[in-house]
Amino acid sequence: MPQSAEKIIDHMDLFRQPEYVDLLARKRAEFENKHPDAEIERVAEWTKTEEYQEKNFAREALVVNPAKACQPLGAVFASQGFADTMSFVHGSQGCVAYYRTHLARHFKEPNSAVSSSMTEDAAVFGGLNNMIDGLANTYALYKPKMIVVSTTCMAEVIGDDLHSFIGNSKKKGSVPEDFPVPFAHTPAFVGSHVVGYDNMIKGILNYFWNAEGVTRTETSSINLIPGFDGYSVGNIREIKRLFGLMGVEDYTIISDTSEVYDTPTDGQYRMYAGGTTIEETKEALNAKATISMQQYCTTQTLAYAEEKGQEVFNFNYPLGIQGTDEFLMRVSALTGKLIPEEIKKERGRLVDAIGDSHAHIHGKRFAVYGDPDFCLGMSRFLMELGAEPVHILSTGGTKKWAKQVQKLLDGSPFGKSGTPYGGKDLWHLRSLLFTNPVDYLIGNSYGKFLERDTKTPLIRLTYPIFDRHHHHRFPTWGYQGALTVLVKLLDKILDDMDVRTNIIGETDYSFDLVR
C-alpha cells in the first residue's frame, strides 16, 4: 500500500494512488450496485433542462441549499457590536456553537457567545432555572457590562417569556437589579438572520430608550445602523473615515463590530473589543436622525426610532457611485457638513477606474444571491458598470423585496433581462444557471458548489466567506469600497480569460500579458 508510517500521505494525494484508485473502482463495480453510467449521465443532464426547472420551482416542502441563516445568528452578530457585552442565547447550546463557528470561520477571530444550555428537563419544565443559573454564571465568569439575551427555537417552542424570566433572575440575584439585560425573542422558525438582527437591535434600544424616567431631548447627532454585514470590519471603518474627512463628529454607530471581529495579535486576548457603549446607546435616543444602511435589517428598529421622534432614512447596502453619492449627501444634509475635496477626488478616482475597465464588464451577465439588501445594492452597482444582473435571488427575500428589485431593474436598460427570485434557494438557482446561463455568479462561499456544477465563475462578495481569507478587512462601501468590489469583479473576469486560454499549444495563443 502507498501509505506507510515513514511517510503519511494526506487525503489530497492518498486516494489518487494507483492502489486506491483500483480499490475504489472495484468497490464501485462489485459492491455499490449503482446505476449504469449512462443512466446517471442521462439524469444529470435532465436536471439541467427546462422540464426539471419547472418541477424544481414547483417544490413546496423542501428547501435545498438555503441562502439564509436563522434569527439568533443575526441577534448574536448585533449584540457583539456593543461594548463589553456578552451575547447570551436562551435555548440549547448546540445552536450557539453554530453561530460561534459560523462567525469565527468568516472573520477568522475568536467569537464569544454563551447559551443557557437547556436540556430535556428544561424543555418539559421550562427554562427559567437555566436562565437564572446562566445569567449568574455569565456575569461571574466573563464579567460583562451588559448581557444581551436572544432565544433559540427550543425556548420559543415552549414559550419561555424572556421579560419575566430576566426579571425573576434579577430577583434571585443572578445579576444586580440595575445590570442591563436587554432581550429579544428570535425564533429561527420566523424570518432569517436579518430579522434577528432587527429584533435584537430594537430590543437593545428599547431597553435603554424606554427605561423609566428617560426622555428625549433632540441633539444634532445622528445614528447609523450598519446591519448584518460580513464586511462590517472594513465597512464600519470606512464610514468612520469618511465621517472624519467630512468633519462629522457627532454620531453613533449602533452595533459597531469593527473591533471585536478584528483584534490584533499582540499577546492579549480580548473577549470584548470596541463596540457601542451603553452611554452612547442611551444617548442615541436624542439623535435627530437614524440612518440604516440595510433597510431589511432594520424594519422594526427604524419604525421604533421614528416613533421616538427621530427622522429615519433607509439605504439598501449602498455600493458604487450613486449609492455612495446618496449616502454622503444624506449625511451632509443631516449634519450640515460639506463633502470635502478629498472625498470628491476619491469619487473621481472611482469614476476613472470604471472608465478604464468598463469594456471588460460591459454587457456581462451576472447572477446575484444573498441577503435582500445586498442583492439590491449589488445589482444597482452592476448596472452602473454596464453589466446585467440576470438572476437576483434571496432566500430571505419577500414579495415586497421582489417588487423593489423589479423597480430597480426597470430603471435601467441593463436591467431588462433581470428577474428577482424571493424565497428561492440555491437549488432553484442551479436550474436557472443551466436554463438561462450567466457569465458570473456573485454570492458567498456556498456558491462554490454551483460554480463546480454549472461552471459559472463565482465572485465571493457577501457573508459567509469561509474558503477565502480576510476579504472582510477591506471595505465595500464608499468610493474606496466600490473600488474593492470593482477589482474583485475584474480579477475574476480576467482570471477567467486566462483560464480559458492557458492550455499550452492549444488555447494559449490568446494568453495575453496585457489585458
Binding site: K344, V351, H358, A359, S412, F414, G505, Y509, D512
Partner: protein
C-alpha cells in the same frame, strides 16, 4: 550604426511622403530629430522588436541591460497558431562589469544557451544602446555563432538612440532583407502565393482574413511577421505578389522585394469594408497578371459580394443607434483613415483624425473630402489632446496606447484600437466587431457619470 544605411532607409524612394517634398528636402530624407524634453514614442529598438518578434518559432535575444526587454517582453498581443518560443523573454542582462569589459562573450554564451536548451530554427539578436556605445560587435558574434551552431543568428542593429520606433520598423525590414529573405527555398510554390508585409496578427486579425483568401484560392506563403515562421519568412522571395499592410512601416521591404526578386507589391488595408474588398481585388488582379488562373478574380468577386452584403446587413441596425454620434480617430497608424468609410457607413460622424504619418497630399485630400472643420493634427502633447477633445465635443475617441487614458480625463469615451487590444478588427467580421465595441462603449453607463460633476458640487 552605419550612416549610409540610415540615410538610405530615411530616403525611401517609394515613400509618397518623401515624394511630396521638394528635391532638397527629399534628399535630407525623413530623419527628424526628436525634441529633447518633449514626450516621445518608442525607440528604434522597440520598433525593430515589434516588427520581428511575431516570428514565432525563432528565439529573440535582447543584448542589453534589463530595462530594454524587462519593460517590454510579451507586451503585444500578436498571436501564434503554433510555436510560443517568441513569447519567452531572452536577454543578456548586461551589468556594470559587462559595460567595462564588454559583453560579447556573454552574448555568445547566451546564444549557446538558447541553442542548447531550445534548439530554435534561428536566433534574432537585438542590439541596444549600451553595447552599441561600448562597442560590442554583435555582427561578428552573430556570424561566429551562426557558423558554430549551424543556424542563422541574425544581428538586428537598431539600438534605441538611432531614432524613432518607426525607424526601428524599417531597420527590422532591412535586417530581413540582408540576412533572412532569400536564404531558404520553399518546399512548395503555387502561382497564387503571396507575402503579407506589415501584418502582425494582433489579436488574431490575420485569422479573420485567411479563411477568405483560402476560399478564393490565394495562398499565404509568408507573413512578415504575424504568426510567422522563420523558414517561411526566409522563403518570402518566391511569392508572386506582396501586400504592404501597414504600409509606411515596411515600405522598404516591399520596394526591395520588387527590385531584387521582381515581386510586384501594392499597399492595402484589411480595415473597413471598402478597403478589405479593395485588398482582395488587388491581390487577385496582380496574381492573375503574373500568371495565376483567372478564376481567382471571379472567386474574389463572389466572396466580396457575399461578404459585403453580409457586413452591410450587420452594420445597418447601428445606423439609428449611432445617429449624430461624433468620432475622433487618434491612432498614430497611417491607415486609420481606412476605417472612416466603414464607420460612416454605420452612421457615425467622423470629426477628426490624426495625420501624423500621412502625406501632405493625403491631408489635402482629407480637407477636400471633409471640409475645413474636420480636425487634423500631427503630434499632440497630452495637454493638447485634452483641449482638443473638449473642444471637438466628440462622443467617442478611437485611440490606443498612451492617449486613451488622457481621453478619459477629458471625459470622452474611448475604445482601444491599438496593439494591446483584444478584439480583432480586420476583415468584414472585424469591422462589425469594431462597430459592436463602439456601440458598447457609447452605451456604457459610466459615461454620463464621467461627464457629470459630483452631485453635491
Amino acid at each position: 550604426m552605419h550612416a549610409d544605411k540610415l540615410t538610405a532607409v530615411f530616403n525611401e524612394p517609394a515613400c509618397a511622403h518623401n515624394h511630396a517634398k521638394s528635391e532638397g528636402e527629399r534628399n535630407k530624407g525623413c530623419r527628424k530629430a526628436l525634441k529633447p524634453g518633449a514626450a516621445a514614442g518608442g525607440c528604434a529598438f522597440d520598433g525593430a522588436m515589434i516588427a520581428l518578434q511575431p516570428i514565432a518559432d525563432a528565439a529573440h535575444l535582447v543584448h542589453g541591460p534589463i530595462g530594454c526587454w524587462g519593460n517590454a517582453w510579451d507586451a503585444r498581443n500578436t498571436w501564434s497558431s503554433g510555436p510560443e518560443l517568441y513569447r519567452t523573454g531572452f536577454t543578456t542582462e548586461l551589468g556594470e562589469l559587462d559595460v567595462i569589459h564588454g559583453g560579447e562573450k556573454k552574448l555568445y554564451k547566451a546564444i549557446k544557451a538558447i541553442v542548447d536548451k531550445y534548439d530554435p530554427p534561428a536566433v534574432f539578436v537585438y542590439q541596444t544602446c549600451v553595447p552599441a556605445m561600448t562597442g560590442d560587435d554583435i555582427g561578428a558574434v552573430c556570424k561566429y555563432a551562426a557558423e558554430k551552431f549551424a543556424r542563422p543568428v541574425i544581428p538586428v542593429d537598431a539600438p534605441g538612440f538611432v531614432g524613432s520606433k518607426s525607424l526601428g520598423n524599417k531597420l527590422a525590414g532591412e535586417t530581413l532583407l540582408d540576412h533572412v529573405i532569400g536564404t531558404v527555398e520553399p518546399e512548395l510554390t503555387t502561382p497564387t502565393d503571396i507575402v503579407l508585409v506589415g501584418e502582425y496578427n494582433v489579436a488574431g486579425e490575420l485569422w479573420q482574413v485567411k479563411p477568405l483568401l483560402d476560399e478564393i484560392g490565394i495562398r499565404i506563403l509568408a507573413t512578415i511577421s504575424g504568426d510567422g515562421r522563420y523558414r517561411e519568412v526566409a522563403s518570402a522571395h518566391r511569392a508572386r505578389a506582396a501586400m504592404l499592410v501597414c504600409s509606411q512601416a515596411m515600405l522598404n521591404v516591399g520596394r526591395k522585394l520588387q527590385e531584387r526578386y521582381g515581386i510586384p507589391y501594392f499597399e492595402g488595408s484589411f480595415y473597413g469594408v471598402t478597403d478589405m474588398s479593395e485588398a482582395l481585388r488587388n491581390m487577385a488582379r496582380i496574381l492573375v497578371e503574373r500568371g495565376a488562373p483567372p478564376e481567382i478574380v471571379e472567386r474574389a468577386e463572389a466572396v466580396i459580394a457575399r461578404e459585403e452584403a453580409k457586413a452591410h446587413q450587420r452594420l445597418a441596425p447601428y445606423r439609428s443607434r449611432f445617429a449624430g454620434k461624433r468620432v475622433l480617430l487618434f491612432t498614430g497608424g497611417v491607415k486609420s483613415w481606412s476605417m472612416v468609410a466603414a464607420l460612416e457607413e454605420a452612421g457615425l460622424t467622423i470629426i477628426g483624425s490624426s495625420v501624423k504619418k500621412s502625406t501632405a497630399a493625403d491631408k489635402e485630400r482629407l480637407r477636400q473630402l471633409k471640409g475645413d472643420e474636420f480636425h487634423q493634427w500631427d503630434d499632440l502633447k497630452p495637454r493638447d489632446i485634452d483641449r482638443m477633445l473638449r473642444d471637438a465635443k466628440a462622443d467617442i475617441l478611437l485611440s490606443g496606447g498612451r492617449s486613451q487614458f488622457v481621453a478619459l480625463k477629458a471625459k470622452v469615451p474611448w475604445l482601444d484600437i491599438n496593439q494591446e487590444r483584444h478584439h480583432a478588427y480586420a476583415g468584414y467580421d472585424g469591422i462589425v466587431t469594431l462597430v459592436e465595441e463602439i456601440d458598447k462603449t457609447l452605451s456604457n453607463p459610466i459615461w454620463p457619470q464621467v461627464r457629470l460633476p459630483a452631485p453635491w458640487a
